[in-house]
């Protein structure tokens, strides 16, 4: 199962390397979202305070777009059906697609943090730089796991139905609310927004990890029944 999952993930990433849809369209979309936030929140010091939340909000929106894309690969030429006929374990499909999705999300998040540093003047506090970076990276990893699992689950459910573009956000956004909350809080601690300190951030990483575990396990169990019948 792991082998097949890796094959699927490698295939997805290779498709992305060839087509560059996410690179050429989703990353710029996320970037312009960040710029748009700046237009909308044009008040003194507001951006600096809300930057961590905006980064994750932009991630959520991009998640929806990437999920659409990752299942468009499968449904464009009936590959999802072919995979079902080939008897590929649905759990392997789930894990494989979630891995590829997670990798793309990580790249996206790194870029968005770069954008936050440039546009919103965020910076890693110098007094505890190492702790901040560790917290930041852990947060990104655990949040991404949860997001990728939920996105893959609902993306697979909606794939192939008419109205999937609208069904996907309706299902996904309420489900990933804990990630938005937890990741924002953890990043606020990491970059020291309004005097938050690094030690406060770890409880949020705990929440994110709990969510990620639940989402991955639940998703792997539910994916088969959801896409296969």
């Amino acid at each position: 199962m792991i082998t097949v999952a890796c094959l699927i993930a490698a295939k997805d990433l290779r498709v992305e390397r060839r087509s560059k849809i996410v690179t050429n369209q989703v990353l710029p979309f996320a970037g312009i979202t960040m710029v748009s936030f700046a237009f909308a929140l044009d008040k003194q010091n507001v951006l600096d305070t809300v930057a961590p939340g905006l980064v994750w909000l932009a991630t959520m929106f991009s998640l929806l777009v990437i999920v659409q894309r990752t299942f468009a690969i499968e449904t464009d030429d009936g590959a999802l059906d072919a995979m079902r006929v080939a008897g590929v374990d649905p759990r392997a499909i789930f894990v494989g697609k979630a891995m590829a999705l997670g990798f793309q999300l990580l790249v996206l998040e790194a870029m968005l943090f770069g954008a936050a540093v440039i546009f919103y003047g965020e910076s890693i506090p110098s007094n505890n730089a190492f702790g901040s970076v560790v917290l930041l990276v852990t947060t990104m990893l655990s949040a991404t796991c949860g997001l990728a699992a939920v996105g893959t689950l609902y993306g697979g459910l909606a794939a192939g139905f008419k109205g999937s573009e609208t069904l996907l956000p309706l299902l996904t956004l309420p489900a990933v609310a804990p990630v938005l909350i937890g990741a924002t809080k953890a990043v606020e601690s990491a970059v020291g927004t309004s005097g938050a300190v690094v030690s406060e951030g770890w409880q949020w990483v705990g929440l994110l990890t709990l969510f990620a575990v639940a989402a991955v396990v639940g998703g792997a169990l539910a994916f088969g029944p959801l896409i296969d019948d």
Binding site: V4, L7, I8, K11, R14, V15, R18, S19, I73, D76, D77, G78, A79, D81, A82, M83, R84, V85, A86, G87, V88, D228, D229
Partner: protein, 250 residues
Amino acid sequence: MNASLNPFSSASATANDDPFVGNTSNNTEPDLVIALKDVVAVLGNFPALAGVSITVQRGEIVLLKGPNGAGKTTLLRLCAGLLPVERGAATILGFDLVTQRQLVRPHVGLLGHQNGLYLDLSVRENVEFWGRTVGASAHEIAGAMSRMGVSGRLADVGVRKLSAGQKRRTSLACLVARRAQVWLLDEPHAGLDAAGRDELDATLGQAANSGATILVASHELERAGGLATRSVDVVAGQAITDSNESQGTE
């Protein structure tokens, strides 16, 4: 479940040179591969299959004829385990399609209107992906590609750039690499040039000889008719004629 009908039990164990099917049990008697009885299948609220009864023996090449909308495609998708059986009884390779259609899938190969290919990957990458998901060896994958004439220069071309016929051949190569027992082909000749058609026919004949069972839905009666061991008329969601023209191999 009939053990002799379970092809994967011995497929991985025996070294089999035949690229088409994993296991060819030396069947002196023809096995029943497909047995449908009064099968109804729905697409939305529409009964695409309105009571199909059909039986197919191992090694047969059955031609499904009929106008568009008669239910040929639905019949093939049902046999592939993609659609639920709404009513009736159906068995494929000893698996009950009503209760365990997921188990049927690994043993059948479906070439539908869509090819099931990744357009951004090359021919080789596609065949390798589909072969490796079911554990085919590099040798088998190479064999499948050369058999379908997509090795060599074509192998590294992106599928998006291929002609319709070349895509079809790639898709067939994926089926071969997957070692399907039952081949379900929906208009396989569509878009193929003359050479491609000959190649396809030869492949189908060879596959049937080595024990694969093939259902072909086709408009091109002369083409497919010569190849088929018998033909079935599909009309308004039912298999009307079940005419035994000849039995066995050609």
